[in-house]
């Protein structure tokens, strides 16, 4: 988007337009950040259909709460914060409902040890059997990530999938640096343990 604010002063002007509920400015905002927010919420929720609705809700919330934006952080960071908070709330709600998450997990008949997986995903293989294995592995991985505590999942996705810096994650999550690093480390450890367990591999 060519008219997305790039420097601090233009972002300030852009935020002023948003705070005046300028519909054109808001269209520009959604056009600019829509795909990124959708990707983030899809990764955090793990469901495409939920993600579409959630991404829309994030921007509705941004529209309602933009007057509270003080400019202490970048606009993109603030939007990410809104998105992650809403995703965590939705995840808690969904986990309470105990949906049929286990079904897909149980349907996987054969397991492949983690050390043989070598990061193979369905998008990287050509042979049909490799592709099936890759898809199974992805399904298990998705399940293991979904089973993480919301705070751990948030930290893990922001760092290892979204590739954000610690500074950005601190601003988004509003927790101390030590806590962020601890959550990331703990999330990685838990994920590895659960993945190994799911693949029938003994832990060292």
């Amino acid at each position: 988007m060519s008219n997305t604010p790039t420097d601090e002063s233009s972002e300030r002007r852009f935020v002023e337009r948003l705070q005046n509920h300028d519909e054109r400015a808001f269209n520009e905002l959604v056009e600019a950040y829509g795909p990124r927010v959708f990707r983030l919420v899809a990764r955090m929720l793990g469901r495409h259909e939920e993600a579409e609705d959630m991404a829309q809700e994030v921007f509705v919330q941004v529209f309602k709460a933009i007057e509270q934006f003080r400019g202490d952080s970048k606009l993109s960071t603030w939007i990410y914060r809104v998105a992650t908070n809403m995703c965590k709330n939705r995840s808690k709600y969904l986990s309470r409902r105990h949906e049929d998450r286990q079904d897909a997990f149980d349907a996987i008949a054969e397991h492949q040890p983690l050390h043989q997986a070598k990061g193979v995903t369905s998008g990287q293989v050509n042979r049909p059997d490799d592709m099936v294995e890759g898809m199974q592995l992805e399904a298990i991985m998705r399940q293991c990530i979904a089973d993480l505590e919301p705070d751990f999942r948030e930290a893990l996705i922001l760092r290892d999938v979204e590739n954000l810096s610690y500074e950005e994650i601190i601003q988004i999550t509003c927790v101390a640096e030590g806590t962020v690093k601890s959550r990331i480390h703990r999330a990685r450890t838990l994920l590895k343990q659960r993945l190994s367990l799911a693949l029938g591999e003994n832990l060292p």
């Binding site: 054109r24 959708f38 899809a42 990061g119 995903t121 992805e138 998705r142 480390h185």
Partner: protein
């Protein structure tokens, strides 16, 4: 937006460098591969947002087609401009023949009458 509460027993634990780099890279590749399946084919977020804001604001926001248009309606601007130009040309063509040739006007000063004051 700051409802985060800090878990009580979280300590400052290791960084990326303390983990096996190869293993970490493999895990990250796996994670991205697994999660990107749900994040493909980005939908049209804008339309949904505009619809929700219109409904929830009772029509206060995004009430008309102009504000929800994705691009500026260039063709509408062009047609309107051309139409206005055509109307002006037409009016000029109709009015111009009605106007006669200019005539000279002689300016004669009006005589001044001085009224004597009353006694």
């Amino acid at each position: 937006m700051t409802e985060h509460s800090q878990p009580p027993q979280e300590s400052t634990r290791p960084l990326d460098s303390e983990l096996d780099a190869t293993e970490l890279a493999r895990m990250q590749r796996l994670m991205r591969g697994a999660l990107d399946e749900t994040a493909t084919s980005s939908p049209d977020v804008l339309r949904g947002v505009q619809r929700k804001l219109r409904e929830r604001s009772g029509g206060k926001f995004y009430a008309d087609g102009w504000s929800t248009a994705r691009h500026a309606p260039i063709s509408t601007y062009l047609v309107t401009s051309l139409l206005m130009l055509a109307v002006m040309v037409f009016i000029y063509a109709v009015i111009h023949p009605l106007a006669g040739a200019p005539t000279m006007v002689r300016s004669i000063p009006v005589p001044v009458q001085v009224i004597a004051p009353r006694k």
